[in-house]
């Protein structure tokens, strides 16, 4: 559907809805939660492999982890889950978890340290896409026999060097930290795949729910686990239906055939706001929209010039117009809800200040190329920037291309400027600090194309050490402070202009309570939900 036709549809539907009498309401049963969501990104349900949003939603409710976020208090950070407690060795390299007693898998098998050992080793050995979240601590298929070891009721993991405990534990709250039932999984092993092909479509966890079925592009059905150690969930069944169209989701929600609509566009959100029996929640997500300036460009490499350019985006104007309900202003490299995130917003549209800074740098005007992927909101941001940059004599030429075309040039450091989004990989500040503020070798030969700082040919200098120091700081509060300082410096000095953080608007029936969508750091939790 084209953009124009979407607008036409929404307008037509909005008008008709506005004039229509109140819809007759059907209701879903009290012990069932029905959700409309786009679930076509699910490729697997195996926690060692799953790395997409809708898959993480399933995983969080099906698999217990050693440590986990409390859905009713995300800000508190990780808390004990299947591990009741843990101790850290003096050298900071070994963490020993004591397993919680009396927790059972859905199969009835007890959750033991051996299962935890198996699950983490398995994730490293299978070496699927998200395995880097664990292997960055030095675990390899060859050394897991000695680095991840169960002993009676405890599990010890030993990293290759000292890391901040909060760094390791945050990573264990990711999907890949899901603890699977070793007996059940190995009973379904085929050709030495450690149960991978079976777990793609089945579940063997200890969480609040088990998977009844996953029909790609159709539905995911979960059944509650009455023996869940935190108490049996109120919702006996959770059904997530794949509904592509926002207008269809809205209609289902208004009609009461679903309890939650996860993909409403701003027009539909506006349409249902304030209606009886419906509530709209705004949820912060991890994705950041940023602009970045290539330091190989003679003008852009001048500190005052890049600072000047950060005063030019019309942050508020964009947030309140075409980004409404999709992005909110955010100007630091850690998404809000992350450990160490800051809410400082030093920049706003200020042409005079930008002009003054340009003059101080001795630059009057120049022409640059910005690479943008062919996504509606990115192109609109680029056009807005084109207007405001022109006011200080900077001519912005917009090159729109496919993801592959633009990313290939970005990685090869060929773009003067990049405008795009970045999503964190795991729920620890290092995931972004290690790419926005870290680039120990800036030479062309290094080809560290995974690092955003490298892609912009930026040498963060002393910030490299700051990132490395934060990664090994054992005290969680001190570590948070380090990231806060780092971001304040990064905002003013780096060639990155973080502009927005993604928000997601969800419509729900007002009788649905305690639905936590997980913020930027984790995924949705169904077990606290009541009606």
């Amino acid at each position: 559907m084209t953009y124009v036709s979407k607008i036409l549809t929404s307008t037509a539907l909005g008008l008709t809805l506005a004039m229509s009498p109140v819809l007759a309401i059907a209701e879903t049963p009290d012990n069932m939660l029905v959700i409309a969501n786009r679930i076509d990104d699910i490729t697997t349900l195996d926690p060692a492999e799953s790395f997409e949003f809708a898959g993480s939603d399933v995983s969080r409710n099906v698999y217990g982890r050693l440590v986990n976020f409390d859905p009713l208090n995300l800000d508190a950070g990780y808390k004990p889950d299947l591990a009741a407690s843990w101790t850290v060795s003096d050298d900071g390299k070994t963490i020993t978890f004591t397993m919680r007693d009396g927790v059972k898998f859905h199969s009835g098998n007890p959750v033991s340290a051996e299962d935890a050992e198996f699950s983490l080793r398995r994730a490293v050995i299978l070496n699927k896409t998200p395995s880097f979240i664990l292997t960055q601590f030095g675990f390899t298929a060859d050394n897991v026999a000695t680095t991840i070891v169960a002993n009676g009721n405890t599990l010890s993991i030993t990293t290759d060097k000292r890391y901040a405990t909060s760094f390791v534990l945050n990573c264990l709250t990711a999907v890949i930290g899901g603890i699977v039932d070793k007996k059940t999984v190995m009973a379904n092993e085929v050709d030495g795949d450690m149960g991978n092909s079976w777990l793609k479509t089945n579940s063997a966890g200890s969480g609040a729910y088990k998977v009844v079925s996953w029909k790609p592009n159709d539905s995911v059905t979960l059944q509650s686990n009455p023996d869940f150690y935190q108490g049996a969930p109120a919702m006996k069944r959770v059904i997530v239906r794949h509904v592509q169209e926002s207008a269809t989701q809205r209609l289902l929600l208004e009609k009461g055939d679903i309890d939650v609509a996860r993909n409403l566009n701003p027009e539909d959100v506006a349409g249902i706001s304030g209606k009886d029996g419906i509530a709209v929640d705004s949820e912060l997500r991890g994705r950041l929209m940023y602009m970045a300036f290539n330091q190989k460009h003679p003008e852009l490499s001048k500190p005052k010039v890049r600072l000047a350019l950060k005063y030019l985006p019309d942050y508020k104007g964009m947030q309140d117009s075409f980004l409404k309900g999709q992005y909110t202003i955010h100007q630091a490299f850690l998404p809000r809800t992350y450990l160490g995130a800051i809410d400082d917003k030093p920049f706003s549209l200020d042409v005079a200040k930008a002009k003054a800074l340009m003059a101080e740098a001795g630059v009057s005007g120049f022409e640059i190329e910005v690479g943008v992927r062919e996504a509606q909101e990115r192109i609109e941001i680029a056009q807005s920037l084109q207007n405001s940059f022109a006011q200080v004599g900077v001519k912005l030429n917009i090159t729109v291309g496919t993801a592959k075309q633009i990313l290939t040039r970005y990685r090869a450091r060929e773009l003067d400027m990049y405008l795009g989004a970045w999503g964190p990989d795991y729920p620890d500040p290092q995931t972004n600090a290690g790419t926005f503020a870290f680039n120990p070798d800036n030479s062309d030969e290094k080809k560290a194309t995974g690092l955003l700082a490298y892609r912009n040919a930026w040498d963060p200098g002393a910030m490299n050490q700051a990132v490395e120091a934060a990664v090994i700081e054992g005290d969680r509060d001190k570590r948070a402070k380090m990231y806060q300082d780092m971001q304040r410096q990064h905002q003013m000095e780096s060639p990155f202009g973080v502009m927005f953080q993604k928000i997601e608007q969800t419509g729900r029936r007002a009788n649905v309570k305690n639905l936590n969508l997980g913020g930027a750091i984790t995924s949705v939790s169904y077990w606290p939900v009541t009606k």
């Binding site: 559907m1 036709s5 036409l8 549809t9 037509a12 539907l13 008709t16 809805l17 229509s20 009498p21 819809l23 007759a24 879903t28 069932m32 029905v34 409309a36 076509d40 699910i42 490729t43 697997t44 790395f51 070496n127 699927k128 896409t129 395995s131 880097f132 092909s197 793609k200 479509t201 079925s213 029909k215 790609p216 592009n217 159709d218 539905s219 059905t221 059904i239 239906r241 794949h242 509904v243 592509q244 169209e245 207008a247 269809t248 209609l251 289902l252 208004e254 009609k255 055939d257 496919t402 993801a403 592959k404 075309q405 990313l407 990989d425 995974g450």
Partner: protein, 352 residues
């Protein structure tokens, strides 16, 4: 259809030999068509600016994982070998694994195709049952207000964007009036209640004797099927009208009238009998179009059919699924063509 057909049949030395060569010829043309289709789809898959490995592994896959997948997917081999391998697999009924959900594509198609089949069949039935009489009536009453109304009905069917009509239909009949079920094939409470035999919920529920499931499924399918039926109706009624006009002007009709036959007999026994053959082609084509999967209808009605399956696969660079889906749809087109050819022979007395 023409006299030469008659003569040719008369010349055949043995009717069995004739059938054999014809069957072989048909098989040959199916094979050529399918090969061409496979080739074009395959080439499109190769030139798409999407990296299939990144599609599977995600943007941040490690170099080792990337290389392993490169070999696993056979991308290290020359393109022509990849193509030949693919054809060999298809011939054996193996469309490979879906790159994205790691299930056999065949299983996916078996799951999504019945949904489309059900929708398209009911849609076409509605289109035929209403469209043919409408076309006949319009032709018989040419130029009168009846003809004008039929024309407007068809015109609206042609020109209204289907997603708009679908949304408004949902709003009115589901949202406000509550006469029909909402999006999806079946209500939440009836999901997985009947065992899958054919995959067609309407048929499976009858087999299982679960009438409440059947009626729920009917309430869900009726709106999208009517919508698709409306589109076939528009096309079928216009074609029927023009076929009929051609016949009504023919001399044999005047003869029939002069003989004093009733108008009913003139229209249905004489004129209509002669348009059956071309009408079959029209209906088959419109059925085939619906079987291809109407993406927008499927999206709006959250209908898990083959149209949205292929579209999703295409957008996620899941080429095995795209190729598999395309081959199935192509095969259907060819089969429907052959089937309508057979019907020709049945309805056309000259071909007997």
């Amino acid at each position: 259809m023409t006299d030469s057909t008659n003569k040719e049949i008369g010349r055949q030395p043995s009717p069995y030999f004739g059938y054999l060569t014809k069957a072989l010829g048909t098989l040959g043309s199916i094979a050529t068509t399918m090969l061409g289709l496979l080739f074009i789809t395959f080439v499109i898959g190769r030139v798409m600016p999407i990296d299939p490995i990144i599609a599977v592994l995600g943007e941040r896959a490690s170099k080792e994982a990337y290389d392993a997948m490169y070999i696993e997917m056979g991308l290290d081999k020359p393109v022509i070998i990849q193509f030949l391998n693919y054809i060999w697999d298809v011939v054996r009924g193996d469309f490979g694994m879906s790159l994205l959900n790691a299930r056999p594509v065949v299983d996916d198609i078996i799951r999504v195709f019945p949904a489309t089949l059900e929708l398209a069949t009911i849609g076409t039935m509605i289109g035929v049952v209403l469209g043919v009489p409408l076309g006949v009536v319009a032709a018989v009453n040419r130029g009168t207000w009846i003809d004008q109304i039929a024309r407007v009905i068809a015109l609206v069917g042609y020109s209204m964007p289907i997603f708009w009509l679908g949304l408004v239909g949902l709003l009115v009949f589901y949202g406000i009036l509550g006469w029909v079920g909402g999006p999806g094939r079946i209500g939440i409470f009836y999901v997985d209640l009947v065992p899958t035999v054919t995959g067609l919920i309407l048929v499976d529920s009858i087999i299982d004797g679960q009438w409440d499931v059947f009626w729920d499924a009917v309430s869900h399918i009726i709106l999208p099927a009517s919508l698709l039926g409306y589109y076939s109706l528009a096309y079928i009624s216009r074609m029927t009208r023009s076929f009929m006009l051609e016949q009504m002007g023919a001399e044999y009709i005047i003869t029939a009238r002069v003989k004093g036959m009733s108008e009913w007999a003139v229209i249905w026994r004489h004129a209509f009998a002669n348009i059956k053959v071309p009408l079959i082609t029209v209906i088959a084509l419109s059925y085939a179009n619906l079987l291809e999967g109407s993406v927008l209808t499927e999206i709006i009605f959250a209908w898990p059919g083959i149209g949205s399956y292929i579209t999703t696969a295409l957008l996620s660079a899941d080429m095995n699924a795209v190729l598999g889906g395309t081959v199935v749809v192509g095969l259907l087109f060819v089969c429907l063509n052959i089937f309508s050819d057979l019907l020709y022979k049945f309805f056309d007395p000259r071909a007997k």
